[in-house]
C-alpha cells in the first residue's frame, strides 16, 4: 500500500507539479470550448444548408460528413500537422488540434441536426408556410427550435466524446493536461503527475458525462 502511494500519490510531487497540471487544464478548457463552439455552429450551418436541398451542395456535405466520421481523428491531426508546413502553410499545433476536432464535431453534429430536422412532421412546415412564414422563417422559428430540442442528448454525448480527443494534442506537442503530465512524469521518474492528469480529466468530464446521462433519461420517451 505504501509503495502504491509512493508511486501514484507522492505528496511532495503533488505540491511541485500541480501548477503545471493546472496550466494544462486551462489549455484543455480553452481548446475544448473553441472546438464546441465552432464545431456545433458549423454542424448546424451545414444542416441548414442541407435543408435547402441543392443537389450539388448536399452531395458535398454528405462526402464531408462521411469522411470525417470514418477517419480516426489522430490520422487527420497528423496529416494536417506534418503535411501543411511542407506546402508553405505553417499553423501552430493548438490551432491544428482546434481545426481538426472542430471539423470532426461538425460532421457528427450535422448528421444529428439533420436527423432532427427530418423528424419534424411535414404538417409543421405546411402550417407555418400557410401563415405567411418564408422558408428560412419556418426553419428558424418553427422547425429548428423543435429539432434542436430532440437532438440535445445525442449531441451532448457526441460532443463530450470528441472534446476528450483534446488529449490527442499531446502527440503534436500541445501543452494540454496529458502533455504536461507525461513531461512531468519523465522528469520526476514517478507516476504521480500522470495520476494527477488522469484525475484532472475525471474532474473536468464527469459532470458533463453525468449531464449526458441525465438528459438521456429525461428524453427517454424518444426511444420507446
Amino acid at each position: 500500500m505504501n509503495a502504491f502511494l509512493e508511486a501514484f500519490f507522492k505528496p511532495n510531487l503533488i505540491a511541485q507539479y500541480w501548477p503545471l497540471i493546472l496550466k494544462g487544464v486551462l489549455v484543455t478548457i480553452e481548446i475544448a470550448f473553441a472546438v464546441v463552439i465552432t464545431g456545433l455552429l458549423l454542424g448546424l450551418l451545414l444542416a441548414v444548408i442541407r435543408s435547402l436541398q441543392i443537389k450539388l451542395l448536399n452531395a458535398l456535405i454528405v462526402v464531408f460528413v462521411d469522411m470525417f466520421r470514418a477517419l480516426p481523428p489522430l490520422v487527420i491531426v497528423l496529416i494536417v500537422y506534418f503535411g501543411l508546413p511542407n506546402i508553405g502553410i505553417s499553423i501552430p499545433s493548438f490551432a491544428v488540434l482546434w481545426l481538426v476536432l472542430s471539423l470532426v464535431l461538425a460532421a457528427f453534429a450535422e448528421e444529428i441536426f439533420w436527423a432532427g430536422i427530418l423528424s419534424i412532421p411535414k404538417g409543421q412546415w405546411e402550417a407555418a408556410r400557410s401563415t405567411g412564414f418564408g422558408f428560412l422563417g419556418t426553419l428558424a422559428y418553427i422547425v429548428l427550435p423543435q429539432a434542436v430540442r430532440l437532438t440535445v442528448p445525442p449531441i451532448t454525448n457526441r460532443t463530450v466524446a470528441i472534446t476528450k480527443n483534446t488529449a490527442l494534442g499531446t502527440v503534436i506537442g500541445v501543452p494540454e493536461i496529458l502533455n504536461q503530465a507525461t513531461t512531468a512524469q519523465s522528469f520526476s521518474g514517478n507516476a504521480t503527475p500522470l495520476m494527477m492528469g488522469a484525475l484532472a480529466y475525471v474532474i473536468l468530464f464527469i459532470p458533463v458525462v453525468a449531464l449526458g446521462r441525465f438528459l438521456e433519461t429525461r428524453f427517454a420517451w424518444r426511444r420507446s
Partner: protein
C-alpha cells in the same frame, strides 16, 4: 497545386510505403479482432451489473462506467502502459492496449446494451418467466434478442469508433497501421504514407458509416 500533390498524394512514395502500411493493417485487424469481442462481452457484463437488483452493485457500476467514459482513452492507455510499471505491473504494448481499450469500450457498449435492455418492456420479462423460463433463459432468449435489435445502429456505430480508436495504439509504439504510416512519413518527410493509411481506413469504414446513416433513418421514420 503541384506541391500539394507532391506532398499529400505522391504515388511514388505511396508505392514504396505500401508494404509497410499493409503490415500495419494486419496489426490493426488483429487488434480489432481482440478489442471488439472483448468490448462486446465486457459491455454486456457492465450492462447487466448496472441493472443489478442490488443498489450497491448498480451505483458502483454506473460510477465505474461514467469514470471510464470521462477519461480520454489515450490518457487511460498511457496510464496503463507507462504508469502501472511504477507499481511493478509491466505490460507489453499489446496487453496494455487490450486492457485500456477493454475498460473504455466496455463502458460505451455497456451503456448501449443498458438502453436496449431498458427499451424492452417489463411485460416481456413477466410473460417469459410465467411460462416457466428461468431468469437466464429469459435474458438470452427473450430480452437480449429484442434489446440488441433496438440498439443495433448504436452498436455498429460504436464498433466504428472502436476501429478508429485502435489508431491511438501507435502512441505506445504498437506497430499498427497509423504507426507504420507515420514511420514511413518520418523517413520520407512526406505526408503521403499517412494519406495512404487514411484511404485504407476510409475504404474499410465508409461503407459502414453509410449503412449506419441508413439504419438510423429507417428507425426514425
Amino acid at each position: 497545386m503541384d506541391a500539394l500533390i507532391h506532398q499529400f498524394f505522391n504515388l511514388d512514395i505511396m508505392t514504396r510505403a505500401l508494404p509497410l502500411v499493409l503490415q500495419g493493417l494486419q496489426q490493426t485487424i488483429l487488434l480489432c479482432l481482440i478489442v471488439i469481442p472483448l468490448g462486446l462481452a465486457g459491455g454486456l457484463l457492465f450492462a447487466l451489473a448496472s441493472l443489478s437488483a442490488s443498489r450497491a452493485v448498480r451505483y458502483g457500476m454506473i460510477l465505474a462506467i461514467d469514470f471510464f467514459r470521462a477519461v480520454p482513452p489515450l490518457v487511460l492507455l498511457i496510464f496503463v502502459y507507462s504508469g502501472l510499471p511504477f507499481a511493478g505491473i509491466r505490460l507489453s504494448p499489446l496487453t496494455a492496449v487490450a486492457v485500456a481499450f477493454f475498460l473504455n469500450t466496455s463502458s460505451y457498449y455497456g451503456e448501449i446494451y443498458r438502453a436496449g435492455i431498458e427499451s424492452v418492456g417489463r411485460g416481456q420479462w413477466d410473460a417469459a418467466r410465467s411460462t416457466g423460463l428461468t431468469a437466464f433463459a429469459t435474458l438470452t432468449h427473450v430480452v437480449l434478442p429484442q434489446a440488441v435489435r433496438n440498439v443495433l445502429p448504436d452498436l455498429v456505430s460504436n464498433t466504428v469508433e472502436v476501429v478508429k480508436l485502435t489508431s491511438i495504439a501507435s502512441v505506445v509504439a504498437l506497430p499498427e497501421m497509423l504507426y507504420s504510416a507515420d514511420m514511413a512519413r518520418s523517413v520520407t518527410f512526406n505526408a503521403s504514407p499517412i494519406v495512404l493509411a487514411a484511404a485504407i481506413y476510409l475504404a474499410m469504414l465508409w461503407p459502414v458509416v453509410r449503412l449506419i446513416s441508413r439504419m438510423e433513418r429507417r428507425i426514425a421514420s
